[in-house]
Symmetry: C2
Subunit: 547 residues, 2 copies
């Protein structure tokens, strides 16, 4: 049943040899707009990546090997480098330079809940910190190998818990090992005509336990819901004991324990099993593009759609900057050529905003839902672009992290961050965060391009997903990034956004958590943590200021 | 803005003079079937209700009066009786006999969050337990005036926090004081063409803070979602500090704090404000009845509907016993007469099960949704009964608690309890709980009628709502009830159900909480409680075994 989950290349995204490099017109565009791309910057060879000798005490190593087997305790250089960081911009900058910010002293490969539970118990005794590691795709430092106050730190690679445990088709419920990768589950569900419907940009590599631990939201979450809506039950191994919550459609038996553990980021324990809601696989799909005169008009149209309960499953709306860059980077073979800027311009939509709308489901329902939604959107000022942009988006929906590697090769800083807010504040927050990022880039002498799209739509508000690019300041890449990140996060908290809609807290967002949920909330979570993890070995430095 | 929230009669449901008494045919039916109804049992007069002298120390009384004003500290007999209990069966049995299980030493009437916060701080210093009291409609002992280890206990009546604080129409978000009653909010929203859509059976009296604190689900929650889906933000006053979570459509900033406080039942603090998702008020409504050959066929039809995303907003399916009793009690003027049992019988549906399906929403969408759903249901074996049963159900949707008073007058024990489980277990759980209740009644020499309906439908499962009636054992009513309740709860936990789908934990379900969520979950919640409420004054005896 289990299939080996793939490793990613240690210095970037995807398998070795993935990515196609920047085409000439993209390189020109970058040169012209942000003065980057002239000087290629390669990553160092793997053997030059500096990793300190393992500090895992021999007694702890032996005890852990007794649990997971000798082959389950890996201390070799390549394995430690692979688990030295997630896939955030600072992670990749450091890895490519051969100077990761630490590495786990060992990587453990447990098989099954009982081994995980035994590892936790032993690590608590030996003062060894544990970093749960699923797909390793965190972009906020969620898998950073921090020791906290402990003697050593181990990465707990979850791929040995990668199986479909049970499928209750009648109840539309799949029970999986937390290390199972999202594509592996889809492959297991396909013969049954079912799907989970969780497709984050990291889909190809992400683990389901990681998705739950970080409150992940997929690109189609407007239709399928974020992972929080899918988790019906779960099993958590904590140093002080186990929590097993059976799969239930709903319950009022006290505070929402499922919701408390979804988003616990490995700080309360390790999610080892998940019972997930699945759905009939889409028999029909319709993805298409639409143009709006400006971002405000597009937002208002999506809001009207949400209010009318006429939302598609994927709903995205790019602002002008993102629309312009998408069209420019796509080249003549992409959206630009196929749609024709001239056509759009002629109808008064020059400098407009592109939206992607995707409908999935039943063969009879998709056309009806689509008709109603498109009618409402046209009434709200949308200009239909047909299916080409939709197909182009579907084709490239997981491509951005590969493109990031190409941009890093070209000396370009590229980072994303995201938030959400109520509809009445979307326009204001969009401007505030955009201006904060642009201002922080300008102030450093590296003016950039700040782009944004609405990525998930709700009845009461929407998420905003920002991407920015600028020329790297060589030798000060991390500090350059930190200044921009801080400005963006401050702008988010000062202007009514959440510090994260779906990237989670990790290390990067910890400083804003008190402003986000307040000191008393943090105290309550810390108290729960102390009870479940008295030695404080679980993922130190993540989630909580005191972690 | 604020309007005076109504009191209920102290011994039952609704205003004085409410209820119409049992019609003759209903009395006959009860006599025949459970041997009850012969001997009327009146409640004692209010002045005969026994309440011990207040134990609130004078120093505490003065300090509290300094916060809420002299008029805000009530120690008079009627006020203490009104707050002596909720509206569960044992509550009403005791109240009617004039022997409530204790009473609050005083009833406080704070106005606004700051007064609540000041009361909590002072009560922690004075060792005075606090029972938050919204509509007082708990049927599981949620407002029982338990002192725990404290010198005294006060009931905190929330009606002074009963205002609509803000309405953000653009964001479909209403911010309310937690003491606001559900009908008051609907009245405030109606001029804006909006609705909350939360209609529990207790709708006429329930407070919104109470709904949130108990994870309430309304009758239309299949469409509108339970209260948990509506709470976008909230403010909680806890003895150790305040938690303020702003209204957000979604967030991944750590564990689900909103979901942790929704369902906290006053044990972590007092919810003082709520930001709630609202929706356009239904412009069209279509409610109708359908008959199924048996409960299994009906369940399977609802499951197919859920899987096809074709659910109505209200979806209920009565089992045979409940269908039979509904038809019998309705009399010739009700469903029975209008639908015609002969017609149903002739088509082979004798002894079948009735379903109520309600569609609400947009004038154009309701007919389309209805057509699709009814087609799927007919294909699954449903026989359409037209709109009469739907109208009858709508007319009587809040009537059951009034009927309960009439049944108590007639010496009938009547109680409800509810659970939820995955679809593949619905039939098994239905039989197990029904048989457990029937067995416990038989064993006491009071054979009864056990009825059930599916009350809320999900993609992955459904809730089951049980009602049972039997002849009261005079003088041992509470013990009789306890034996049945225990049997039912054991059956639920032994057979894969949740101990409560929407009635909450209160006092009654505490003994089953460890089996439901496990010792480690309870420890984690208890740790959070100890941090927020170090003196343990918040609603002792509820929610947690150690509360």
């Amino acid at each position: 049943m289990s299939e080996q989950a793939p490793d990613m290349r240690w210095w970037g995204w995807g398998a070795d040899g993935a990515g196609t490099g920047l085409p000439a017109h993209a390189r020109e565009f970058l040169e012209q707009r942000i003065g980057a791309g002239a000087r290629p910057r390669e990553h160092v060879p793997l053997e030059q990546v500096r990793v300190e000798p393992s500090r895992l005490p021999e007694r702890a190593r032996a005890a852990l090997a007794a649990i997971v087997g000798e082959g389950g305790v890996r201390e070799d250089h390549p394995e430690r480098v692979l688990h030295a960081a997630g896939k955030g911009y600072p992670d990749l900058v450091r890895l490519r330079a051969g100077t990761p910010d630490g590495a786990p002293d060992a990587v453990l490969h447990p098989r099954g809940h009982e081994q995980v539970a035994a590892v936790l118990e032993r690590c608590a005794q030996e003062s060894v910190a544990i970093v749960p590691f699923g797909g390793g795709t965190s972009v906020v430092g969620g898998v950073a190998p921090l020791r906290g106050r402990h003697a050593a730190v181990v990465s707990l690679d979850m791929r040995g818990l990668g199986e479909l445990i049970a499928l209750d088709d009648t109840s539309a419920t799949a029970t999986v090992g937390a290390g199972m990768r999202a594509p592996a589950l889809e492959r297991a569900l396909a013969p049954h005509g079912l799907t989970l419907g969780h497709f984050p940009q990291s889909y190809e590599y992400v683990s389901l336990g990681g998705c739950a631990a970080t409150r992940s939201a997929g690109q189609a979450s407007t239709g399928y819901g974020a992972i929080e809506k899918m988790v019906l039950g779960l099993r958590l191994a904590a140093p002080a004991g186990e929590i097993a919550l059976p799969a239930l459609p709903a319950t009022a038996a006290g505070p929402g324990m499922r919701g408390l553990l979804v988003g616990s980021e490995g700080a309360l324990g390790v999610i080892t099993e998940l019972a997930l809601r699945v759905r009939p696989a889409a028999a029909a799909r319709s993805y298409e593009g639409m143009f709006f005169r400006d971002f405000e008009t597009g937002c208002e149209a999506l809001r009207a759609l949400a209010r009318a309960h006429a939302l598609p499953d994927v709903a995205r709306l790019s602002d002008r900057a993102e629309t312009e860059v998408s069209l420019a980077l796509a080249g003549d073979g992409g959206v630009k050529g196929r749609v024709g800027r001239a056509y759009i311009g002629a109808r008064g939509y020059a400098d407009g905003c592109i939206a992607i709308l995707g409908f999935e489901g039943d063969r009879h329902e998709v056309p009806a839902r689509r008709r109603r939604a498109m009618r409402l959107l046209r009434r709200a000022g949308g200009l239909g672009l047909g299916s080409s942009p939709g197909e182009a988006w579907q084709h490239g929906r997981f491509a951005a992290p590969y493109l990031r590697d190409d941009l890093l090769d070209a000396g370009v800083m590229v980072e994303t961050l995201e938030t959400a807010t109520r509809w009445s504040n979307v326009g204001h927050l969009h401007r505030a965060v955009r201006d904060a990022i642009a201002g922080a880039l300008d102030a450093q002498g590296t003016p950039g391009i700040v782009m944004c799209h609405v990525s998930h739509v709700y009845e009461t508000g929407a998420s905003l997903y920002f991407t920015f690019i600028a020329r790297q300041i060589e030798g000060a890449e991390i500090e350059q990034w930190r200044i921009v990140k801080r400005a963006a996060c401050d702008a988010i908290e000062d202007n009514g956004g959440t510090i994260t809609h779906h990237h989670a807290v990790g290390v990067d967002h910890v400083p804003w958590m008190e402003r986000e949920i307040g000191a008393s909330s943090l105290q309550a979570i810390a108290a729960a943590k102390e009870r479940l993890d008295p030695a404080g070995i679980m993922n130190p430095g993540k989630l909580l200021p005191t972690g």
